[in-house]
Every structure is written in C-alpha cells, then in structure tokens.
Assembly symmetry: C2
Homo-oligomer: 139 residues x 2
DNA sequence: GAATTATATTCGTCTTGACGAATATGTAAA
DNA sequence: TTTACATATTCGTCAAGACGAATATAATTC
C-alpha cells in the first residue's frame, strides 16, 4: 500500500507553523509554486535542511509537491479543515507585514529577474503563479 | 529585576497551540476565568501536568493568571499581535465544533451545577464570566 | 551505462518539551 | 505556629524534532 497520508490534524498543523524556517518557506511560496533550489538560494540554508522542512510541511498537509523532471515544485494547499484554512491565510498575511519576510520576498524577486547573478539557479525553472483553484492536495 | 515577560513571539504562539492538553485548557477557558482545580477535575489529569501547561500558555502570552487566596484563576488574554488574536479566536471557535471538546465543556457545566458531586471541588471558587475588555496581560 | 544534477533520507548529536514522582511555595485555617 | 490546602517547581527519563554531515535516490545528460 502507498505511504498513507495521515488525516489532517490540527495540533500537527500548529506544530508545523511553530518554526521560523517553515514560516519563511510558506511566506516565499505565497501563491506561487517554487522549486527547491530557489528556497535553498533565498534562505541561504543547506539543501537537506530545506528538504526536511518541506517534508514536515507536506506531512502536516500544508504544502504539496509536484515533480518536474529533476526538479520538485512546492506549493501551499488549502487544508481540509476550514479553520486551519482561515488561519493559514491570516498567518501568511501577517508574515507579509514582517520586515524580514519582506526582505526574503525581495530577494526572491531579484533572483527571478536576474537569474544570471545566481549561479545555483542556472537552468532552474522559475516560480510560477498558481490559480487559487489549483490547490488540491496531490500528495 | 523581575522575571521579564518575553515579548510576543508568533512561533512560540503556534508552538503553544500545538498540544492537545493545551487546546483542551483553552477550550475550557473560553470567556471564563477558571481555577486550576477545575482543570484538574475536568481533564482528569495530575495537577502538576495542568500547572505546567498553564505556565507554558502564560509564557506564550495566551493566558493570564490571577491569585485569589489559595486559588489561581486563569483566563485567556488577547495577544498583542493582531493576527494571533484573530487566529486564537478562530481556533477557539473551531474547537467548539469538536465532539471531545464539547464533552469537556459539558463536564465543566455539570461540575458547576452540582459541585457537591465533585469532592475535589468542595469550596473552590466556580468559573466566572469575564467581560471582553478585561483581557489585558496582567502577567 | 557512467557521470551529473536535483532532491530526499539517514545518522549522530543536541535541545526542547512532555510526563510522573517528588518536593517546594504560598496562603488560609486551626 | 503548626497544619492543611492549592498550586508551582524540580528532577529524572523519554520522545520529538532540529541540525550538519554523509549518503541514497531519481531523473537527465554525456
């Protein structure tokens, strides 16, 4: 049988939001689908660390992953729990108010506009906006 | 110098919400001020466990305590962070939908109506409703 | 098919936090 | 002032999780 995605759990959801790195990742995703290498570049953190936090978010039912050749794209998905969905939305809005989070997004924009300056992103697929209805939990 | 209440921290806030016992405590408080012995009775848990979780919630800036003779009363306070305040509100509303949380509240009501049947609550001050403007963080 | 690239997982270590048991503190009552 | 009561804190243990380092996997390119 397949790995069996655990049913949505509110405590797990909160635990997932209780970490700075994961909040930064969520802030970067916003309504975009982003490839792992971008997270690594923008957060300036080791790749295994990024992957582990993304896995945690996926287990908590907050993000979903899509494979695209060598690359993996992550995006935020709307949790099945209605309150959690609202909370996630408010959290993202609140993060955007923080200076450090704005700086992260700023660096992301810069990386997208002038990818030539970021050698680790050569050939990497840039983030793409996702339509609000796209967020079903496909793993 | 005094113990120095740490400034409000969003990660800490989420970590505080990421525990079942603490969610039960918050659900019981709702808009009432409740004495520790009631938590112990309703959750049927060891008193030190209850006290530790209440301390955690207090450190996270989610509840405040008031001493009243031998008793300590706890109540929910509105976090200074606007998003956190909203999130807390939604979380409480969401908890009320859960059957187990309703059962907790049900037992609390029963204990208040017929305290004679709960020998651990003899002489304990019953929960009291708090006015919505009362929730400033007095420790 | 071997080398490369992108990402995931494992391992060892350390910190945080949850728990029960025991003990300390703070207040009131005797 | 002892005693009892309500609550808080400490201690030892254990599990979860965060991290860097190393390694494994999966897809692509040569």
């Amino acid at each position: 049988m397949p790995p069996k995605q655990a049913p949505f759990n509110l405590e797990r959801f909160f635990q997932a939001l209780g970490d700075h790195t994961r909040l930064r990742l969520l802030n970067l995703m916003g309504d975009q689908e982003i490839c792992v290498c971008y997270f690594v570049e923008i957060l300036d953190a080791p790749q295994p660390k990024i992957s582990r936090h993304l896995a945690y978010l996926r287990n908590a039912g907050i993000v979903a992953a899509r494979r695209d050749g060598k690359w993996m794209h992550y995006r935020i998905v709307t949790p099945p729990n209605e309150a959690a969905a609202q909370i996630l939305k408010q959290t993202l809005a609140s993060l955007q108010q923080e200076k450090a989070m704005q700086a992260d997004l700023c660096r992301l924009t810069k990386a997208c506009c002038t990818p030539a300056k970021f050698l680790s992103l050569q050939g990497a697929p840039p983030p793409t906006a996702i339509s609000p209805s796209h967020n079903s939990a496909s793993r």
